[in-house]
């Protein structure tokens, strides 16, 4: 028996045992989707937040439009627009040699999630940077720090601590939202579960999937709490 069949076996659930391996590989797809998109999204968001606050006027307007657009529309709609909508321009993508990318639902989901989470994370980071008191900038200036050094050495370390909790929430939201990747034929955890249900018509498989998602979210929540305690250990007890 494969290791991935054990949970179902131990819980005495035939469906869960039969589809355990598919769900395990589905969980891996979910994991890849979320980790890669949130990580790339974070890097993008850093740049976006800084450009939104200190960049030229046109950049501010453009970034504002970007975040409003992606935060104001459903992720499902964005995913369909990328997967079906951009896939419509097949000849163009073939010409520029990018068809391999837009052909794959995995890459489409990855692109959509990255762009979406970058918008949310950019707003989180912008809020965090903005809530650093003005005196911190002035103090750094008085010390003769360059603008860029001020940001890197004084502002960002404080802003990141403020942003930690909302960023953790965003990670959890992305794990949950990634379930819609199953709607573009991707076999993530949700996709594998849908397949199992469609073949067995046993509703309990959805409950097991819910349990797995719940565990995942709880583990991350707890790890994040620990992380926050650790990163704020130099601050006064609250």
């Amino acid at each position: 028996m494969n290791w991935c069949e054990y949970p179902g076996y131990l819980l005495g659930s035939e469906v869960f045992q039969n589809y355990g391996c598919r769900m395990a590989s589905g969980l891996w797809v979910t994991f890849e989707l979320v980790v890669i998109s949130v990580a790339i999204g974070f890097v993008l968001a850093l740049g976006l937040a800084i450009a939104r606050l200190y960049g030229p006027r046109w950049a501010k307007v453009a970034i504002n439009g970007y975040t409003t657009f992606f935060r104001g529309t459903p992720l499902l709609c964005q995913l369909f627009l990328v997967y079906y909508g951009l896939g419509q321009f097949r000849l163009f993508w073939q010409d520029v040699g990018l068809w391999w990318f837009f052909r794959e639902p995995f890459y489409c989901a990855l692109l959509t999630f990255t762009v979406n989470t970058a918008a949310y994370q950019a707003e989180i980071l912008r809020g965090a940077i903005q809530s650093i008191p003005r005196g911190q900038f002035e103090g750094a200036m008085a010390l003769g720090l360059h603008r860029w050094s001020t940001l890197r050495l004084v502002i960002m370390p404080q802003a990141m601590i403020l942003a930690l909790r909302p960023l953790g929430n965003e990670l959890i939201v992305m794990i949950k939202s990634s379930a819609i990747a199953s709607l573009v034929t991707l076999f993530d955890l949700m996709g594998a579960t849908r397949l199992a249900f469609a073949r067995s018509f046993d509703l309990t498989i959805y409950l097991y999937a819910a349990l797995i998602y719940l565990l995942l979210v709880e583990v991350i929540r707890r790890v994040w709490d620990r992380l926050e305690l650790r990163l704020t250990r130099h601050m006064a007890l609250r």
């Binding site: 409003t68 104001g72 529309t73 459903p74 627009l81 949950k176 199953s182 849908r194």
Partner: protein, 242 residues
């Protein structure tokens, strides 16, 4: 490109009317879910602050579960789950034919349950911000517990809770797109169908995006207006009440 825009129109072969109806369904399910979800959220919040340990525990488990499980999964479980349970009840009652779950109700229940879990957090935060003295003073004035809540606590509660609840509403509005998978003919459902019929996915999903964006912008404006109204007579350190 422009000749294809006729597909969005109201003329022959245009999907304008269908899209409009879809937009109506989206708004209808969001508006129908809102009071149900918020009220349930308030009840859950009161449960979390209850002195009864069982109630507190139940309320905590409830929010943990429905905040942790993907909305899509909750929707499926409720849609198929209620369907199966009621189907069995239907048969055991000896009624003829089949029971079929109306997708609107399933969507409303699923979205409402998720909304209640998230809004209960907002309610708890707001309830905590109201000092005990407010209730005591209300009691001293001879108001019953219910009157104290309705006349003294609630108006102050709403002011604190409004930004959070506004956020919940925006999330709800976007989450309604999921009900298309249980065949409720909302914007997403209509555009998916239009895509199948016309093979113009970019045009239709783009149009859907703009409709959602329009609703979001309107909502943001509306929530802002409500906040100003809830804050009236409440001086902030900026001086005036905005």
């Amino acid at each position: 490109m422009f000749d294809k825009l006729a597909l969005l129109g109201f003329g022959d072969g245009g999907w304008g009317l269908a899209l409009l109806q879809g937009a109506g369904i989206t708004i209808a399910i969001a508006l129908a879910t809102l009071p149900f979800g918020l009220l349930l959220g308030l009840i859950v919040a009161l449960g979390k602050r209850s002195e009864n340990i069982v109630l507190r525990w139940l309320a905590t488990v409830y929010t943990t579960v429905f905040r942790g499980v993907p909305e899509l999964l909750t929707l499926y479980i409720i849609y198929f789950g209620i369907q199966i349970v009621l189907q069995q009840a239907w048969i055991s009652l000896g009624l003829p034919g089949n029971f079929s779950m109306p997708p609107f109700v399933a969507g409303m229940v699923a979205l409402g349950v998720v909304l209640s879990a998230f809004s209960s957090e907002v309610w708890v935060g707001a309830l905590n911000s109201i000092q005990k003295g407010q209730r005591e003073a209300a009691a001293a004035l001879g108001l019953s517990k219910g009157q104290a809540f309705r006349l003294v606590v609630f108006p102050q509660l709403i002011r604190v809770a409004l930004p959070g609840l506004g956020n919940n509403w925006m999330v709800l509005l976007k989450e309604t797109s999921l009900v298309s998978v249980i065949t409720l003919p909302d914007i997403m459902f209509i555009t998916t169908r239009a895509n199948v019929a016309t093979k113009e996915p970019f045009l239709f999903f783009g149009a859907a995006m703009l409709i959602y964006l329009f609703f979001s912008l309107i909502s943001a404006w509306g929530v802002g207006r409500l906040e100003i109204r809830a804050n009236r007579g409440f001086a902030t350190f900026g001086g005036a009440t905005r």
